[in-house]
Amino acid sequence: MISAREKAIRYIMIVLWLVLAVVSLLISGWLVVEPGAISSEAISAFGGILLAGVGITIIVFNLGDNYQPPISHFLISILLLLLGGVVFLFFPDQGVALPNLEGDITAKLANLLLFLLVGFAGIWAGLLFFRENPAQNRELAVKYFTWLSVLIPLGVLVFFVSYTIIEGSSVINWQFISSSTNLMMGKVGIFPAIMGTFSLIIGATVLAVPLGVGAAVFLTEYAKRTWIRQAVGVTADCLWSTPSIVFGLFGYVFLVPRITGHSTLLAGQIILAAMLLPLTIATSTEALSSVPDEFRSGSLALGASRWWTIRKVILPSSVPSIITGILLGIGRIAGETAPIMLIAVASNTSAPSFLTSSFPYFQLGSLFREVDALPYRMYSIYKAGVGGSIDEAWGTALVLIVLVLMFYGLGITVRSYYRRRRGW
C-alpha cells in the first residue's frame, strides 16, 4: 500500500521523465535536421539531457523511504553515467550545446557539471539499490560521499606538496640554501630570504607570545565576568579574520612613518606579531581552561596566592598545549606575504645580522633595515615574470613549504606526545 504522497511523487516523476525525453528528442532532432549538425553535438546533447533526466528521476524516486525501485533503473543509470563520461572526455568541445548559448565555454562547464551531477546520482543509486534496506544503504552512501569529500582536499594537498617536492628537489642544493644571489657570478641562493623569514617570525613571536599568553591568563584566571572574556574573544576573532592586506595597509600608514619612514624589519615583526596575537590568545585560552579546577583549588587551599598558583601550577601544566598553539600560529604567519610586502621587505638585500665580532657582540641596526623573506622572494619572481627563473621559484616554494610543515609537524608532535602523557 503506497501513500497518496508517494503516488503523487511518482506521477510527477513520470511526467518529468516524459517532458525531459520529449525535450531532448526535440533538441536532438532539431540538431539533426539542422544541416551540418549531425555530429557528436547531437549525441552529447541527447546524452546530457537524458543523464539529467535520470539524475532527477533517481532523486525524486528516493524521496519515499519505503519504495524500492527495480534494479534495472540502477543499471541504466550506470550505463548513462559511462556514456556521460565518454561524452565529457572525448567531446569536450561539444557540451549540451543548447543553440542559444553561444561560446563553447559555458557549454563545457555545463557538460562538466552534468557529468558530476549524474556521477553523483549514479553512485548514489547504486548504493541504494544493491541492498535490501534503503535507509541503511542511504547511510552507507552518505558515509562514502562524506569520505570522498575529505579525500578531495587532501588529494589536492598531497598533489601540491608532492608536485613542489618533485619540481623543487632538483633545484635545492647546499649552495642554493646557504648563499645569496650573485648575478655577476650567475649564482642563485636564498640564504638572505631564509634568515629574513626567521628574523621576522622570531621577532613576531617574542612580541606576541607574552601578550597573548598574558591575555589568556588574565581571561581564564582573573576575569570573573563573562562579558570581559567575550569582549576579548570577539576582538581576537575580528583581528584574526582581518584580511592580511589590511594589516599591510595599516602598517604602511601607521608603523612605517613612526619608525623610519621606509620599510624595516621591525615594522614587519610588529605587524606579524599583531597577526599572531589573536591565534595565541585563542589557543592559550583553550589550553588554560582545560587545566582542571582541582589544581587551582588545591593550590589556593595550601595558602598559595593567585599569581603563585598560576606560575607554579597552571602555566607548567598547560605549557605543552600553549606551545602547540604558538607553533601552529608561527606556521601560519611564516608564509604571509601581503602584510610585509609594503612595510618590511625588499628583494635581494643581504641577510640581517645581529652578531658582531667586537664588543658588545650584538647590534640592532638590522632591525631598522629592509630584509628579504621567502614568501616575498616567490612573489617577486612571479612579478618579474615566471619564465626566466622558474627553478628558483620552485626551490623557494619547497623551502617555504618545508619550513611551514616543520612548524606544523613540531606542533602536532608536541600535542600528541603530551596528550598521551598528561595524567588528567
Binding site: E294, G298, S299, G303, K312
Partner: protein, 289 residues
C-alpha cells in the same frame, strides 16, 4: 597570628579549647540560601564530623572556614567565622595565611602534575615566597631568583619537612624510592594520602576534609580513616561525610545539617545512641534522607 591587625576582643572572650567558632553564618549562592543561620563550635584537637544528605550545605560550611567560597562566583557570606579568635572575614586578613593555617583535603585526590617531592614542598615554598614578598625590599628581589623548583631556600630543611609530612601521612615507606617521580603515577589512595601530606607540610592547625574517602576503594578508605584518627592527636580535624558509619567510627563530635540548617550537634556516641531531635533519629536510622 595570621591577621596583621589582630582582632583583640576575639581572643579574650574565647574558651581556649575552641578552634573554630561559627556564629549566625549565612551563605548565599546568588538567590539560593545554602547555609541558614548556623552557629557551632569546633573543638581543638578533636575530630568533628559533619553529616547530612547531599546538598545540605556541609561542603559549603567547610569552605566558608578557609574562605574557599570566595572562588565561587556569586557566593556571599554573612555572619562570623572565627579561627583562633580572629574573624576570617575581617578586613585586611591575609587569606593565604588563613589557608596555610587551615588546610583542606578534597573529595577527589588532586595532586599537581609534579613529582611527589614537589607536591609536598609546594605549600612551604609558596609560604616562604610570600613571606619574603611581605618583607619587601632586597630580600624579595633575591627571592625572584631563588624561588625556582630547585632553589637554595629548600636546602636540607625542606627535605626534612617533606619526609616528616609523608611520614605523618603514612606514605613515606611506599614512596621513599620514588620521591622524584610524578605524583600522577600513584594509586588513588596514595594520591589522597599525598594530598594529606601536602596539607600537613604547611604546618596547619585545622584540617578540613571534604568526603576524603568517597572516591576510594574500601581498603584505601580504611587506611585514610586510621590516618585521621592518628592526626587528631596533633590537629583539629573537621570532616564532611555522608557515610554515617564513618562518622561514628572516627569522630569525637558530630553535627547534622539539614537543608542548610544545623539540626543537632553533640558527642558522637550520644548523637547516634539517643539523639535529641526526632529528625536526627529518623536520619540515622535511614527513614529520611
Amino acid at each position: 597570628m595570621f591577621n596583621d591587625q589582630g582582632n583583640k576582643e576575639g581572643i579574650l572572650d574565647l574558651p581556649n579549647q575552641t578552634a573554630v567558632e561559627i556564629r549566625n553564618l549565612d551563605v548565599y549562592y546568588g538567590e539560593e540560601n545554602a547555609i541558614e543561620d548556623v552557629s557551632l563550635d569546633i573543638l581543638r584537637k578533636k575530630v568533628t564530623a559533619l553529616i547530612g544528605p547531599s546538598g545540605c550545605g556541609k561542603s559549603t560550611l567547610l569552605r566558608s572556614i578557609n574562605r574557599m567560597n570566595d572562588l565561587i562566583d556569586g557566593a556571599k557570606v554573612e555572619g562570623i567565622v572565627k579561627v583562633d579568635g580572629n574573624n576570617v572575614y575581617s578586613k585586611g586578613l591575609q587569606v593565604s595565611r588563613l589557608r596555610q593555617k587551615v588546610g583542606q583535603v578534597f573529595q577527589k585526590p588532586n595532586p599537581f602534575p609534579k613529582s611527589v617531592y614537589d607536591n609536598v614542598a609546594f605549600g612551604p615554598r609558596a609560604y616562604k615566597h610570600h613571606l619574603r614578598k611581605e618583607k619587601g625590599g632586597l630580600s624579595s628581589l633575591t627571592s625572584f631568583f631563588e624561588s625556582g623548583e630547585k632553589s637554595p631556600i629548600d636546602g636540607r630543611h625542606m627535605d626534612k619537612v617533606v619526609k616528616d609530612s609523608l611520614e605523618q601521612a603514612a606514605l613515606l615507606d611506599e614512596v621513599e624510592d620514588k620521591l622524584h617521580k610524578s605524583a600522577m603515577d600513584l594509586s588513588g589512595g596514595q594520591q589522597q594520602r599525598l594530598c594529606i601530606a601536602r596539607c600537613l607540610a604547611t604546618k596547619p592547625e585545622i584540617i578540613l576534609m571534604d568526603e576524603p574517602t568517597s572516591s576510594l576503594d574500601p581498603i584505601s578508605a580504611g587506611r585514610i580513616e586510621d590516618l585521621i584518627e592518628d592526626l587528631s592527636t596533633d590537629y583539629t580535624v573537621l570532616i564532611v561525610t555522608h557515610n554515617m558509619q564513618q562518622a561514628a567510627r572516627i569522630s569525637d563530635k558530630t553535627a547534622l545539617l539539614w537543608l542548610g540548617e544545623l539540626v543537632e550537634m553533640s558527642e558522637t556516641e550520644e548523637l547516634f545512641e539517643n539523639p535529641e531531635k526526632e529528625l536526627t533519629e529518623k536520619y540515622i536510622t535511614g527513614r529520611v534522607g
